[in-house]
């Protein structure tokens, strides 16, 4: 419940504050968001698996975000930034799909 409230609160704050994303961070924010979504789905799956641990969740959340942004940063330095961000999005997308499938199996037994 607190998680859902937190999500809504974050959306409301984001709508209210209308933050300006610094130019240097602009390529990394979408990747970080996708990585965080992946961590969130992973957390829900772990919860349903009965192995949820808040410490693991926090670490995976933050490391996912940092690693994804780092990969894109390195890609930018190497001149393959757009390709690497595509790769990261694809990989995270696949993970989100598999996590969602696992959650679905838990909830619907199908």
């Amino acid at each position: 419940m607190i998680a859902a409230i937190g999500l809504v609160l974050g959306v409301v704050v984001g709508l209210a504050v209308r933050p300006e994303v610094p130019v240097e961070l602009q390529p990394y924010l979408p990747i970080a968001v996708v990585a965080a979504l992946d961590a969130l789905f992973g957390g829900v799956r772990a919860l349903l698996d009965g192995i949820f641990d808040d410490k693991v969740f926090v670490v995976s959340f933050l490391s996912n975000v940092v690693v994804a942004a780092l990969i894109v940063f390195i890609g930018d330095q190497l001149g393959v930034g757009s390709q690497l961000s595509t790769a990261v999005v694809v990989v995270l997308g696949i993970r989100i799909f598999s996590n969602a499938a696992s959650i679905r199996r838990h909830l619907f037994h199908a």
Binding site: V13, V33, F52
Partner: protein, 265 residues
């Protein structure tokens, strides 16, 4: 969804199990419902904070993406965009040049047509005055030739006409008859005919031209007026700022002569 799920799936005794996550037995819904139950635990708070962060980031990114500007693009994309823009700009510049040329052409067409029209109008005016088709006004002289005894000969009047032409007279009339290139004095002394119409003495000439030149030319010794006086008549010249030649002649269209075709089309 969370509240609906929470309301739909309260597993019996779900909340009694103190640590649902450590047990495998309960269904997925009951686990979810248990997790969504508002409690203040470290896990809940940490998850809430991270979810708030995620929501904030999502909203920010969505807003950012919807107002995507050039600064978010990568170098490759910018180069491509620049290329496309340059190409498009070149195309537009070429089109501009073409259209400007077309416009200039049309304008010059228009102005040359206008010029031709003006020239035609001026030419029509000139010819109208020269052929006596149009009335004319301008500086000139009024010449009065008195012939009390009826002895002034047509040849003398013709001499006077030639003298006027030599002096640069541009439009003339005698009495009510316009003088043109084909005018002829006929008849005899005292009953002069101009183009077949009888003239009554005194003959009043209205002449448009340089008044000084004409007056001087007529008055020179042995000139036209001297010839009139030799015939027994008398003549006088009055210089005027403005005289009007109002008599009109209707030039007959040429029967034999046709214009020589112009060299260029």
């Amino acid at each position: 969804m969370s509240t609906a799920d929470g309301g739909r799936g309260p597993a019996p005794g779900g909340h009694h199990r103190h640590a649902a996550r450590e047990e495998r037995a309960p269904s997925g819904w009951s686990v979810l419902a248990h997790a969504l139950r508002p409690r203040v635990s470290r896990a809940q708070v940490v998850t809430g904070v991270l979810c708030a962060l995620l929501g904030f980031a999502v909203v920010t990114q969505v807003r950012q993406a919807s107002t995507a500007t050039l600064s978010t693009l990568r170098q490759d994309d910018l180069v491509r965009l620049l290329d496309e823009t340059t190409t498009r700009g070149d195309e537009l510049a070429r089109e501009l040049t073409r259209l400007e040329a077309e416009r200039d052409e049309l304008l010059s067409d228009d102005s040359s047509r206008q010029a031709a029209q003006d020239a035609a109008r001026r030419s029509a005016e000139t010819q109208g005055i020269l052929t006596g088709r149009l009335p004319a006004v301008g500086p000139g002289v009024v010449v009065t030739v008195a012939d009390p005894d009826g002895r002034v000969k047509p040849a003398t009047l013709l001499n006077l006409l030639e003298e006027l032409r030599n002096a640069g007279a541009e439009a003339m009339q005698v009495g009510d008859v316009r003088l043109t290139a084909s005018s002829a004095f006929t008849g005899g002394a005292g009953e002069v005919l101009l183009d077949g119409q009888p003239l009554q003495a005194p003959y009043r000439w209205v002449v448009i031209g340089d008044p000084d030149t004409i007056a001087t030319a007529l008055e020179i010794p042995g000139g036209a007026l001297a010839a009139v006086r030799r015939d027994g008549g008398d003549g006088g010249v009055l210089r005027r700022e403005e005289v009007e030649v109002t008599a009109l002649a209707t030039p007959a269209p040429p029967t034999w002569a046709t214009p020589l075709p112009a060299e260029d089309g």
